[in-house]
């Protein structure tokens, strides 16, 4: 097999290494009898540099060697690449959201009464930041506590045209009955399907 062009070897090495490679280091990749001289390597690098013009990547000469980098202009598209794994909402938050959805307009005090525990301020803030819950007025009692309700975004997110489409409390009874069964699920199973996308069918 004929040896591939020098610039292809250099490009492949830079991309496989993922970090900067010096000319000396690049030379060590070749058979002793076929080591390109530095001028040859520089020429290959110059060719690559030219090829990358107008593309999303560029060749940079750094202190420790040459490196292929993604151009800064493309940063906006990369910012979502390393999104942190989404956290899961706490049980307390989901309960609070459910009470607001079914009992709106409802004050924090009323939520606390139903849940039997106090409602964390963070929960109310998270729900409002997410755009699912908003203050819809004040109850006309001493202290004038804020009343909360759900938003249009809440309905959109859950694919509901209106609040009427929320499952009725009667259906909830059934759910309550089957709930002990749901709890019998094995933690790994539940985790596995939630955490690893492997379980899903591929889109290709």
């Amino acid at each position: 097999m004929a040896a591939p062009p020098l610039k292809h070897i250099v490009e492949a090495a830079l991309l496989a290494a993922g970090g900067p490679l010096s000319l000396d280091h690049l030379q060590t990749l070749f058979d002793q009898n076929n080591v390109p001289d530095k001028a040859g390597l520089r020429a290959a690098l110059a060719e690559l540099d030219k090829e990358y013009e107008g593309r999303g990547i560029e060749l940079k000469a750094l202190a420790s060697g040459y490196q292929i980098q993604v151009r800064t202009e493309l940063a906006p598209w990369l910012s979502r690449l390393w999104e942190e794994k989404p956290q899961r909402y706490s049980r307390a938050l989901l309960e609070t959201l459910a009470i607001i959805a079914y009992r709106q307009p409802v004050t924090r005090g009323e939520i606390e009464e139903i849940r039997g525990v106090s409602v964390n301020t963070n929960i109310m803030r998270t729900l409002q930041e997410r755009g699912w819950v908003r203050s819809v007025g004040h109850r006309d009692v001493p202290g004038r506590p804020a009343m909360y309700g759900t938003t249009r975004q809440f309905l959109d997110y859950f694919n509901l045209a209106s609040l009427d489409e929320l499952p009725s409390l009667l259906e909830l009874r059934d759910l309550d009955d089957i709930h002990p069964e749901l709890d019998l699920k094995f933690p790994e199973e539940a985790d596995a399907s939630a955490a690893t996308p492997d379980a899903e069918p591929r889109d290709e």
Binding site: L15, A16, L78, L94, L97, F158, L172
Partner: protein
């Protein structure tokens, strides 16, 4: 390995042509006959078998035999010689090898027994099960070799990566399923009801009483799932009493608790 049906296997059977070999540094003067193994490779081979099926497969292949036509008597003899050799060399012999020795002996005795002519058609060849297992094992043995030969990341192919500009990773909002929301609501409703009833009807739920009831639900033959013993309809107080009762039973060694691994479901049965 599978295709090493080399013809020289039979040549090494010649008595006297067996030079001494070294096993773990110790010279081995006498090798059992009929071992179709290059003696200098003895050490390697003895440790290279992946179990009795692998050894049997090796013996069969080494003699150019077809799995489907295993001469059970010959193979059994060789297998036993191997097992004896391994014992003699004090190589750690897994129990599986001895189990297989028993299986072979059983098949051999069945092939020797005359069968009543009437049943001849119905009775299966006594080797059938062994042949099935051998074939089954061989498929995966070969599949493992083929897997090893597949191109591998970092050895045969390399993902291409370029340095990315500094970017702030974005936070993704958690996903919520409608069912999760409903489950949360159901929970809170149950709890709310429990709180309201709690003061009205104070049920006397003694732990002792519950211990008796729990024991009555268990038997010594079958395991019962831990969760089945806790009845959610009784509300929190009921669940707590059941749980305390269970703890008392465990402490008193009246029940046996099994969990196959951490986080796996817990199973309970009465001690016989």
């Amino acid at each position: 390995m599978t295709d090493t049906a080399d013809s020289d296997g039979l040549l090494e059977e010649q008595p006297g042509a067996v030079p001494s070999a070294r096993v773990r540094g110790e010279p081995v003067q006498e090798l059992p006959r009929d071992l179709y193994i290059p003696p200098d490779a003895l050490e390697v081979f003895l440790e290279a078998f992946e179990g009795p099926l692998d050894l049997l497969l090796y013996l069969i292949r080494k003699q150019n035999l077809n799995i489907l036509d295993v001469p059970i008597a010959a193979i059994t003899r060789q297998y036993m010689e191997y097992v004896d050799l391994m014992k003699e060399l004090r190589l750690e012999l897994a129990a599986e090898y001895l189990v297989m020795a028993a299986v072979l002996a059983e098949i051999k005795s069945r092939t020797l027994l005359p069968r009543p002519p009437a049943q001849e058609d119905e009775e299966e060849d006594p080797r059938a099960e062994l042949v099935r297992r051998l074939q089954e094992y061989e498929r995966y043995k070969v599949a493992g070799e083929e897997l090893d030969a597949l191109p591998r990341q970092g050895r045969d192919f390399f993902p291409a990566a370029a340095e990315a500009p500094d970017v702030e990773p974005q936070r993704r909002e958690p996903e919520v399923d409608m069912r999760e929301l409903l489950a949360a609501l159901a929970d809170v409703m149950t709890r709310a009801e429990m709180f309201t009833h709690h003061h009205v009807q104070k049920e006397a739920l003694s732990v002792r009483e519950r211990m008796t009831e729990t024991l009555a639900r268990l038997d010594a033959e079958h395991f019962t799932g831990f969760a089945e013993l806790l009845n959610a309809e009784e509300g929190r107080a009921g669940v707590v009493v059941s749980f305390l009762a269970l703890l008392e039973l465990i402490k008193a060694a009246m029940v046996e608790v099994v969990q196959s691994e951490p986080l796996a479901p817990i199973h309970i049965r009465a001690r016989g």
